[in-house]
Structure formats: C-alpha cells, structure tokens
C-alpha cells in the first residue's frame, strides 16, 4: 500500500516540472501519435475501500484511483495489483470516447503486483477496435522503450527511454523482490495515469511502477514476470510465484568460510532461517547449510548468480522468474564439510501460511468480539496502523512475533490472536486499558487461531468466561450472561453487521 502512495506522490510532483523537464531532456522525445499500440490502452477507474484495522467491523471511506491498462490477447486488461487492491468498483473507459463499462478483477497477485480485469459480459462490443497486445520479454540494458500515457483529450502519447539496468527489486510489498527494468528519462506527467504501459515497438515490455523525478528514473515490472503470470493462468488455475521460504546471509567472511570448511568453494550463502512447510524445509535444507547452487546456477557468496542475459542478478530470480509451482529444482548445499545434492519441489507460501499475514487485501481482518473485548488475528497491516515509525512504535511483543514467528509456531499456533482493544461496557469494567496482549487460552481451550476463540466462547466455564493472556493480570473473567447481553447492545450501538469475521 505504502509504495503505491509514494509512486503516486512522485508522479504528481513530476507534473509540476513537466514542461521544463521535457525541454531539458535531450535523449527523449514526446510525440503525439495515433497508432495501434496506443489503441490498446484503456483507462481504468477504481473505487477502493480499505478495512479499518482499529475497528475491524467497519470499512473505511471509499477512494478512487485512475490508471491505465492494456488489452492483452486473452481479452483481459492488465493492470498493477496495487491499482485494484481492496477494489469495490472497477470501471474501464475508452480514452477517446469516454465510454465506460464495469469490469471485474479476475485474478490478482499482490507479490508480483499484477492483475487482470475482465470486461462485463453485457457489452462485449466495448472492446471492438481496441488493439490486443502481446508481450516482448527480450528487453535488456541499452534497449529503448516507450512509456505510454493518455492525455486528457484521449490522445495516447509516448516517451522513449533507454533501459539503464535490469535488476531485482521489490514491487510494492517488501520482501518479495522481482525482475525490474530501470529506465532513464524525464517523463511529462499527464493527469490520471500512474500505472503506465511500457512498450517495445508494438509489444508490451512492462508496466511502469514508479518514477523518481529527481533522478529521472522509472522502475518497471519486467515482461518476463508478466509472462510468468500469464503462463501460470493457462491451466485456468492460478498458483502464484513459488518461494523458497528461507532466509540467508552473505558468506563472504574468510574466517566463517574456514570454519565451515568450505575450502576451495568460492561462493555460497549461509542459511539463517527456514520457514515451516516451505519449499526449503521440504527439500531438507537446514539452518547452517551453505547453498552453493540453485537450479544449476552457481550462487556467489553474496547471493547472486550469473544470468545469461542480464549478468549478475539476485538468486531470487531463479525461483520467482525461472520456475513454477510444482516444478522440481536441483540444489547443491554444503553441510559438515561435504557438498550434497538435493531436489526442491517448488511450492508457494501464501500469506495465510505465515503466522503473521504479510499482507491482507480484498477482505477484512479476522476478529471476534465478546462483551466488548475485541480479539483479532495479528497481521502486518495491523502493525502499520502505528504509522511510518511502526517498527519502533508498534507494541514490541507483536513486533517480536512478526520477526520471530518460530517462537510461537513451535507451540502449535497458526496465528497470533491478541486483544486489540477493550470496548467500555459493564461486562468489561476494569479491563478497559488492556490492549495488544496475546491470548493463550479461552475457557481452558488453547487458542491457535480466531476460530478457536469463537468455539471457546461457545462453552463457558459455568456462569463465566475465562480469558488467559500472556501478561499480567494473566486472566480476565467475564460474566457469560452479561457478555451475551452486551454483544447485542454493541451490535446495535456500533451498527455492527456481525460481531465476528472468522474467514
């Protein structure tokens, strides 16, 4: 979400200097033209509504986003995922005529930051005359690409920019780096377009993610990633990009290498964490192993490999760019002074597989309210309500759970259930100041996810409910009858549709 806002702000700034920038630029040119390439571009208008993590029964105020999409040869419109996150209404618009039709997000991948929009069945003729694009996955450093925009009058215009570098960078979620093109050149910003198609001749080479007007650098989602996304869809079932589920550190220090008896080996990275049930765990990789080769590529001591086209790249591209879920990949590791060959069957850890969901879009946070005590499952977006400095300011126990899930996963927790706040009712008298405490048990039942809380409240301990929390005062006691009464009143007073969201 964050990245999205930044990109937008940067582009807005750029518009202020647009005229100057264009004149100053010598390597770029902006020329209005009507071509078949420009005819593949549609405006995309999105209304989006975030969930309120503080009052999880509510949605926030709807907002709008405008961007551009391109029609692909599968008849769907490609946009970035950040564009359609939490979308409540999707609309496509012909730039020239202003004609609009409703659309629907058919598939979205927030990690790869890609989404497809389907046109409403009622108006198939809307796409008549719109050019369908195919991909060009061959772009490399030194190539010239055209960044396309649509002016207010509906005219499509392009700016030619050279590719400076092909590298690996986060798209808009942290911790999920993908192949990125970096373009150099000043862009004149035209209102209403912050996701911009990037073309190589008459084919789609990528989607522009962000533009830095100071450096005049654009970052672009690279076509090979779009290609991977589309190929994944061919069987009608989207699996997503595979992940190793492994953390690593550089193994550059000579003393470390001697200690590990790496001897003549020159590369390899040191494995520091393995997520449970991940590709790496299933392949048999262990913490302390040194990963020497991945998918037949030698990994250097900083975690890079030699890509035949792009040169030195972060090894994450071998996994995300070069393999699909279900495929097998050979690995070579070094353990106890010997190298070993392993085979990994590629899997993907979905956000639900994490103790703390790394992101959550298009659905609300799970919660359960009892008498005014608000239970929630911890997610990374919840922590972000503490603002820009959330990594310093969010409650430290919750931050620790995010950083060290293994401490909680080892006793069987699937999610961290915590009391996010206590609403003031007669049932919760005396407990009002409690917040952000992790819940261990309810009515004697161990809590591994929010469903457990809902189940446990169904079986009170006689006339009371007992909630065991991980810190003082360790146990909260609620009157069962009063809790039920207050639930009804809260529903009424706060206009809650439900007192819970369990899935």
């Amino acid at each position: 979400m964050k990245r999205f806002l930044i990109s937008f702000a940067v582009l807005t700034l750029a518009s202020a200097h647009a005229e100057v920038a264009v004149k100053a630029a010598t390597t770029t040119e902006t020329k209005p033209e009507v071509t078949s390439v420009g005819d593949s571009i549609l405006r995309v208008n999105i209304t989006a509504q975030n969930y309120n993590f503080y009052q999880p029964w509510e949605k926030g105020k709807p907002g709008t986003r405008r961007g551009l999409g391109v029609l692909l040869d599968n008849g769907q419109v490609l946009v970035s995922a950040q564009m359609v996150s939490d979308a409540t209404y999707v609309e496509l618009e012909q730039p020239k005529t202003g004609e609009k039709v409703p659309g629907k997000v058919s598939v979205v991948d927030y990690e790869a930051n890609l989404a497809l929009i389907e046109i409403s069945q009622e108006k198939p003729e809307f796409l008549d005359g719109v050019t369908r694009l195919t991909l060009d996955t061959t772009s490399n450093a030194g190539d010239e690409l055209d960044v396309w925009q649509v002016k207010d009058n509906g005219l499509a215009v392009s700016t030619r920019c050279p590719v400076l570098e092909v590298s690996i960078d986060n798209y808009f979620l942290s911790g999920t780096p993908f192949l990125t093109y970096e373009l150099k050149g000043s862009l004149r910003y035209h209102a209403g377009s912050f996701v911009l198609p990037v073309m190589k001749d008459d084919k789609l080479a990528g989607l522009l993610l962000s533009y830095d007007s100071d450096e005049q650098i654009s970052t672009v989602i690279a076509a090979p990633i779009i290609d991977h996304f589309l190929k994944d869809l061919e069987d009608g079932d989207y699996s997503g990009f595979p992940t190793l589920g492994m953390g690593f550190s550089r193994a550059t220090d000579e003393q470390l290498r001697n200690y590990l008896k790496l001897g003549d080996e020159s590369g390899g990275i040191y494995v520091t964490t393995i997520s449970p049930n991940s590709t790496a765990a299933k392949a048999g990789i262990e913490v302390g192993d040194v990963l020497l080769e991945l998918g037949g590529h030698a990994i250097d001591s900083r975690g890079n490999y030699e890509h035949p086209d792009y040169g030195r790249l972060n090894m994450s591209h071998i996994v995300r760019g070069g393999s699909h879920v279900g495929q097998e990949m050979p690995l070579k590791i070094f353990r106890n002074g010997e190298s070993m060959e392993l085979t990994a069957k590629m899997t993907r850890r979905s956000p639900e597989d994490f103790l703390v969901n790394p992101y959550l879009f298009d659905k609300g946070p799970r919660f359960f309210i009892a008498g005014g005590v608000v239970f929630q499952e911890l997610t990374r977006p919840y922590l972000k309500i503490f603002g820009d400095q959330w990594q310093q300011r969010a409650p430290m126990k919750l931050l620790w759970a995010l950083a060290h899930p293994e401490d909680y996963e080892k006793d069987g927790r699937e999610k961290i259930v915590f009391i996010s706040r206590v609403m003031r009712t007669p049932a919760t008298l005396g407990y009002e100041s409690l917040s952000h405490v992790i819940v261990d048990e309810v009515n004697g039942k161990k809590i591994n996810n929010i469903q457990d809380v809902a189940d446990a409240f169904g079986t009170p301990d006689g006339p009371i409910h007992r909630v065991d929390i991980a810190e003082a005062p360790h146990e909260l006691i609620l009157d069962a009858r009063m809790t039920a009464e207050m639930d009804e009143r809260l529903k009424q007073a706060f206009r809650m549709r439900e007192l819970q969201r369990l899935d």
């Binding site: 001697n258 520091t272 310093q392 620790w400 407990y431 409690l434 810190e471 909260l476």
Partner: protein
C-alpha cells in the same frame, strides 16, 4: 485498570516527562551521624537558627567537579565536567544535598554564606534511588558555629513555602516563594526508574537550587530537586518531602545505605464484578486488589502467588484500586512499604482460592530493575576482543549507543516484567567494532545481543570474558547472537596479533574492565 510494578516504573515512560534536575538544600536538626566517625564540631550549636543570617549560614553552595564515564569508548576515563548546587546543614558539619549534585564527583567544595573561602568536602553517603546525599566539610572549624536546620512535616496544600539556594542568575544566595500545589507519587528523574512521594510547588526552582531547603515556619519541609522544563509547563517545581529525607537519614544510621525495599509484585485493580465473584470477594465491598505478578527473587517470591487477592497490609484495608487509608488520606499501598527498611516485615492478609490467609513478608530491595535506572559512580564495564567491544546492557548503554536493534530493545524492555534476568543476569551487547582486517565483515552485528560463544551460554560479562580467554585455545571462536542465524567466527590464530594491533591503533588502554570495588571508588582530588 492499572498494572503497577510496585514502585518501579518502566524507564521509557519516565523519559517522556523531560524533567530536568537542579539542586536545593534541606536539613534536619540534631540528626546524629552514626557512622561517619568524623569529629563533631567543637562548639556544638544549640537550637535552630533564629535569625535570617543564622539561617543563611546553614545553607551552603556546593561545587562539584565530576567525571562522566564514557560508555562509547569505555576504556577512556571519561569527560570532566562540573556544576554546582545547594546544600544545608542537618547536624553539626553534616550537609544534605541531592545525589545528582554530587554524582560521579572527583572534587567537592563547600561555600559558606558571606565567606569567600571554598572548603573541601567529603561525600559520606549517596542514595541515587531517592536523589539524596550527605557530605561533610573536611575541616569542621568553618562551620563550628553554624546551626543545623530543623526538619518539619509535610506542608499543607496551598500553604506558603520558601526556597533558598544558589541558582543561576547571580552569584549570591537567592530566595523564592510559592505555595504547595500537589502531593503525589512522582518519578525521580535522577535514576529515571524510581518513583516516590514528591511535593509540587509553584515557587521558581532553577538549576543550582537542587539540594537546597524548602522552608516553612523556619523548618525544612522539603529538598528542592527537579522541575519540568520547556514550554509545556510553568512554575512546576518539585521537592523531596521530609518522610523521604527522614527515611534516608535513618537508613544510613548503621553506616551504610541499603536502598529502598520493594514488594516486587504487580497489582491489578479488582473492579470487574464477575472477576470479584470468581475470586470469592463480596459484591458489596470494594476491598481487595489482585496480585497480577510476583517477581522471582523479590520480597514476595515464594510467599504470594499470582491470583492472590490482597486484603490488608499491616491491618489496613486495601481498596480495589490498591489504595490504603493513612491519616485520613488515601495513598497507594506502596507508601506503607516505602517507609520500611531492608529486613523489616509487613503482614499481608490475602485471599487464596477463596480462603483467607495471613502471610508475613520480609522486605528487601529488588535489584533487576536497576538495568532501567541511570547508573552513577561506577566505571563502565566492558570486554574488548578482536576489535569487538562487549558491554552489559543498561540504561546508560542504551542512551550512549542509541541502541535500536530489536533483540536488545526487547530484552531491555521485558527484562523485569518477563523475568529475563533469570536466564541472563546480564544482557551482553556487541556495542562497537573497531575496524580491522579481522572484523571487516562484522558490520551487521553491531548492537546484537550475544547468546553463546562456542556453545556456552553467555549469562554475564564475566562469562563472555572467560569464553574468549579459555584455558585451552580452540581453533575458532564462534559467537552466536540472539535472533540471528549467522554467527561471527574468529580464527584464534589471528586474535593475538589483531588485539595488539587494535589496542595500539585505537589506544585501548585495558582490554577489559569487569568491575571491582576498588576501581569503582572514585579518585578524589582534594
């Protein structure tokens, strides 16, 4: 509902208050100094001062040169600085001032009213936890005729008090006047981790007033010690009330200061009806507060249990919010414990599993909280190895190094609450790296917390020192850190040369200082 850990307050809460300290003088009459053994002044004065001149002569200016330790480069001696405050005579040749006036001192001088001389003085006792100290003039003659001040009681709200001292704004004695605004528990900013009774007054208190007396009807009713600075507050000054001063003077009667004692429990207001019923309490009463936590190694360890309900302390009923009635006023039950000493006992009536019970608690100080208190009069402890500096984590260290790594912050914050001191009496942090070929790839480890060295758990700095000075030299030193998968590996064959090189280059005098009573005794220049 509030959770209190007796008198301890998490340090980070206190820092927000931006208290600044100053010195004021307070004194008590005829308080015999049991231990000092200093010769009593020949002509012992009789009775309290009865003229302004007498009064002013009992109030002195204290000039302190101090050595502030260098936690960033702990092998250095520190930075010399100085300041001045106020003090007052409470017994022949015995002067009370604030601990923060004389902390880390290397030279103390006393200046008498109307006398241009500066007299060398000696620190007798210092109580950092309540910001009080007592000193004497090395030569008793100059104060032979000075009359000690009498110590009074807690002044009434709205009554007028006078502050006398040597604050900034001029060189001569200054007096200001105000009223008593509030009497309440307050954080004492000197340690940043202690909370005691304090009295707020609206008389101007400025730097230099610290340690000086606040007077009413010719008697000392408080020791001026801190205020709130900045634009947010005006005319907010605080003084240490006489119960705290009296406690200090009584504590040192046996010749040493034993610090405050603490129940070392957390309590929780028992307000919820369902909770009260479940604990077996009557619905129509408001007696009883919950024992929410009991700290290991604290006074109540093994006697109280989590879930007990406290009903009475020394026969006084404890209300559901933890307050007791003393002399018609409702005060926190900790006020009862505040006045007690190490080894004293309190009786608690409790309810356990619905059954009434009476238990006796022998009171003692609770040390683990000191990690969150500012430390004075001690040299920083450290061990340097292969250019890596290791230091035990405490408040001074957090501040000096601006430590923000998650593991260090977590262990520091929950050290007391989660009883992390049981597993690690000291949290040893890699605070800095003096760059050298042996450690050129270790940058990512700065401010990490040491977990193990060669598989041995590091529980304090001594453990670390021993682990890097083993009887038999291993081939590698493998240092593991909390929450980090990657260890630091150091080849022992390289260590000796690197140590010598680094110590010479960076002028690291001693490769370690693990603490010793002698070394912590300051060098005094008198």
């Amino acid at each position: 509902m509030t959770i209190r850990i007796s008198l301890l307050k998490p340090a980070r809460l206190l820092t927000a208050l931006a208290l600044s300290s100053w010195t004021v003088t307070a004194q008590e009459s005829s308080e015999p100094e049991a231990k000092s053994g200093a010769p009593a002044a020949k002509s012992a004065p009789v009775g309290p001062p009865n003229t302004s001149r007498d009064l002013y002569e009992s109030i002195v200016e204290i000039e302190c040169a101090s050595l502030v330790p260098d936690y960033q480069q702990p092998w250095n001696g520190g930075r010399e600085t100085g300041g001045s405050g106020t003090g007052f005579m409470i017994a022949p040749n015995k002067f009370v001032t604030n601990a923060h006036v004389v902390a880390d001192n290397t030279r103390l001088l006393i200046k008498k009213y109307g006398d241009p001389e500066k007299y060398a003085a000696k620190l007798l006792h210092i109580a950092h936890d309540c910001d009080l100290a007592i000193l004497e003039c090395s030569d008793p003659i100059p104060f032979a005729d000075t009359k000690p001040l009498d110590i009074g009681d807690i002044p009434k709200l709205e009554s007028t008090v006078t502050v006398i001292g040597y604050p900034l704004g001029g060189r001569r004695l200054s007096t200001t006047r105000g009223v008593v605004s509030r009497i309440d528990f307050q954080p004492y900013s000197h340690t940043g981790a202690d909370l005691h009774l304090a009295i707020q007054i609206d008389a101007a208190i400025n730097p230099g007033n610290s340690g000086g007396p606040v007077l009413q009807d010719g008697k000392v009713v408080g020791v001026a010690f801190q205020g709130i600075s900045g634009a947010v507050a005006q005319n907010v000054g605080y003084m240490i009330p006489t119960p705290v001063l009296r406690r200090f003077l009584k504590d040192i009667e046996d010749g040493q200061y034993d610090r405050y004692v603490d129940l070392a429990i957390g309590d929780f207001d028992l307000i919820n009806p369902a909770q009260r019923l479940a604990l077996g309490l009557r619905q129509d009463s408001s007696v009883g507060t919950l024992v929410a936590s009991v700290s290991n190694s604290g006074s109540c360890d093994g006697v109280l249990e989590e879930g007990d309900v406290l009903l009475k302390i020394d026969g006084r009923e404890i209300a559901s919010n933890g307050y007791v009635e003393v002399d018609g006023e409702f005060v926190n039950m900790n006020e009862i414990v505040e006045r007690r000493f190490k080894g004293d006992k309190v009786e608690l009536d409790i309810l356990r599993d619905g059954q009434p019970k009476s238990v006796e608690i022998e009171l003692k100080p609770f040390d683990p909280y000191l990690i969150q208190a500012n430390t004075y009069d001690k040299r920083p402890r450290y061990a340097s190895f292969a250019g890596l500096t290791f230091q035990p984590l405490d408040r001074n260290l957090m501040t000096a190094h601006s430590i923000e790594t998650m593991a260090a912050r977590y262990l520091y914050t929950f050290y007391v609450q989660d009883e992390l001191f049981e597993e690690r009496p000291e949290i040893v942090v890699l605070t800095s790296i003096l760059p050298d070929a042996i450690n050129s790839n270790f940058g990512g480890f700065q401010h990490a917390v040491v977990d193990k060295i060669n598989d041995k758990k590091i529980k304090d700095l001594q453990d670390l020192y021993d682990a890097v000075h083993p009887a038999e030299t291993p081939e590698f030193y493998v240092i593991e850190f909390v929450g980090k998968g990657l260890p630091i590996v150091i080849e022992s064959a390289r260590v000796e040369a690197a140590n010598a090189r680094i110590r010479a280059t960076y002028e690291v005098g001693l490769d370690s200082y693990l603490g010793s009573a002698e070394d912590d005794t300051p060098v005094i220049f008198n």
